[in-house]
């Protein structure tokens, strides 16, 4: 596995806000400068650019090229990754592959979106024809289906979903970069009593759309060693699955692509779920994290609530989870929101978690969820294992 021959040598994140007063390129420029400061690199050392999806850029068929132009980056490789919430971690994987293949040496991975300030999206999928005419709001409604079905098949203790919501909110209270509106503590009762959006999906199950951005500098392990970076994080396992079980009409919506993607990532990493020090699952809805606990083998299928009951997900707990608040308590940075989970994992492995630093930093597990298809859970699942040790 050659992806591990690439190193994340710096991360950056701007404050998440409800609506940005700045252009998406200005956010990108701020992240670029911060990364140049942190790495001591000159701009000319960056010879690759890999972008997550961006709602703001979605109307531009030349997005990576245009962004390279705006930031004046002369590159040998540029790409926008369009797998929705999986696109930041997917961009990191593609950057690593491009470096390993010799297309380039050092990549700026940039995850910036100002979906609230400026949406450039013109959707073209099944929804206009088949679900918009039903009043389907999109993700909340789809997760309403998933939740109803999960409860029917296994039973569901909503207080355990609330426990995850509270742990994440505790992280956001300690995270200066989280959206201010979300930085007040909540209780399990607050979760249970929050208003219904798409019954049984509640307000506090859901992400709030926000603006912001994050980014990484990824370079070859060789270059990282040559430049003598003291801190580096390596992707040692990666799995990606799009259109899981799409050759069937009817699937169990409580099974997800994280099962095969996770198996692949763990196999490459030589680890299993019980070895994981901190978990940074994509969190568009609380129940998505519980289902991922099951799919990734932290517990058996249908036993997510029992697992949650038995573990502590705060930064000092036995399985720290989305220690900065996750997207639900930081705010969802549009289609770049997966960067929130990814960058927090890297921050923890760098030992820079500050007041929320986790104890065990041998590894971290990051995931993504992208796209909402018809009558199933999601389009793309990604799983990445990171380690500071290589």
């Amino acid at each position: 596995m050659a992806m591990r021959d690439t190193a994340i040598v710096a991360y950056s994140e701007v404050k998440t806000v409800q609506k940005s007063d700045r252009d998406v390129w200005e956010i990108g420029a701020e992240i670029l400068e911060d990364l140049l400061n942190k790495t001591g690199m000159e701009k000319g050392e960056i010879d690759g650019l890999c972008l997550s999806s961006s709602t703001t850029g979605a109307g531009n068929c030349f997005w990576s090229q245009t962004t390279a132009d705006q930031l004046a980056l002369e590159v040998d490789f540029c790409q926008t990754v369009d797998i929705g919430g999986c696109s930041p971690t997917g961009a990191l994987a593609r950057a690593a592959v491009a470096i390993d293949a010799g297309l380039c040496e050092t990549v700026l991975c940039l995850f910036a979106d100002t979906a609230v300030r400026e949406s450039g999206q013109r959707q073209r999928h099944y929804q206009q024809e088949w679900t918009a005419p039903l009043g389907l709001l999109g993700p909340p409604t789809s997760f309403g289906f998933i939740t109803s079905r999960y409860e029917h098949q296994f039973g569901l203790d909503y207080r355990m979903l609330g426990k995850l919501a509270v742990a994440q909110r505790n992280g956001a209270v300690l995270n200066d970069l989280a959206c201010e509106k979300l930085r007040t503590p909540i209780t399990i009762d607050d979760y249970i009593n929050s208003r219904m959006i798409a019954d049984p999906i509640r307000l506090l199950d859901s992400v709030m759309p926000c603006d912001g951005g994050s980014g990484l500098i990824v370079t070859s392990r060789k270059n990282a060693e040559k430049k003598g970076y003291k801190k580096a994080v390596f992707p040692i396992g990666y799995g990606e699955k799009t259109s899981f079980q799409f050759s069937e009409n009817i699937v169990d919506v409580t099974d997800t692509g994280h099962m095969p993607a996770g198996a692949k990532a763990f196999k490459q990493a030589g680890l299993t779920a019980k070895d994981i020090n901190s978990f940074h699952p994509y969190d568009d809805f609380i129940i998505a994290m519980m289902i991922q606990l099951e799919m990734l083998g932290f517990c058996k299928k249908g036993q997510g609530c029992d697992f949650i009951r038995e573990h502590d997900f705060n930064f000092g707990g036995d399985l720290p989870l989305n220690t900065g608040g996750g997207q639900i308590s930081v705010g969802q940075v549009g289609l770049a929101g997966g960067g929130t989970n990814l960058v927090e994992a890297v921050r923890q492995l760098f030992g820079e978690g500050g007041s929320r630093q986790v104890k065990n930093t041998k590894n971290a597990l990051v995931t993504g969820i992208g796209g909402i298809p018809y009558n199933r859970n999601w389009n793309t699942s990604v799983v990445m294992v990171l380690t500071p040790n290589g």
Binding site: E129, L134, L137, P140, G144, N249, I250, N375
Partner: protein, 141 residues
Amino acid sequence: MVTVNDTLNIERGAPAARSFSQPYWDGTKQKKLLVQFDKSVGKYQWLPRATSRFTGRKSVLEWREVKGEGEVYSHTLVYRARPPFQGKEPFFIAMVTLPEGVQIMGNTVGITQEEMKIGLKVKPYWHPLPDGYHMLMWQKA
């Protein structure tokens, strides 16, 4: 228990049909439920696609009429929606499994919050759309 809107009062446009789904919409003019069928494997598929989800071959697809009697696989009661549904919540969206092995989503007519449950038997309710088309909704069988 809240009063569930059957959404018949929502103004909807003509269908956003594609070249490969137009036969379905044409069928709705006669309140016929047409579903694609892959004759090479003997299986139905929903929603209408440009190709067979089973074999990746478009030439094996044909349209067959089905009765549309099925049962609820899952449901959600929507409290937040965009226009033209905004302010007219709550309403149901039900995902219904047909005996042909497909699932079709729809709004519901005359099903109360108390009655809605996974496994509920339902049948089509055809709601008029512009240009003579109809939209498939679900009512108790």
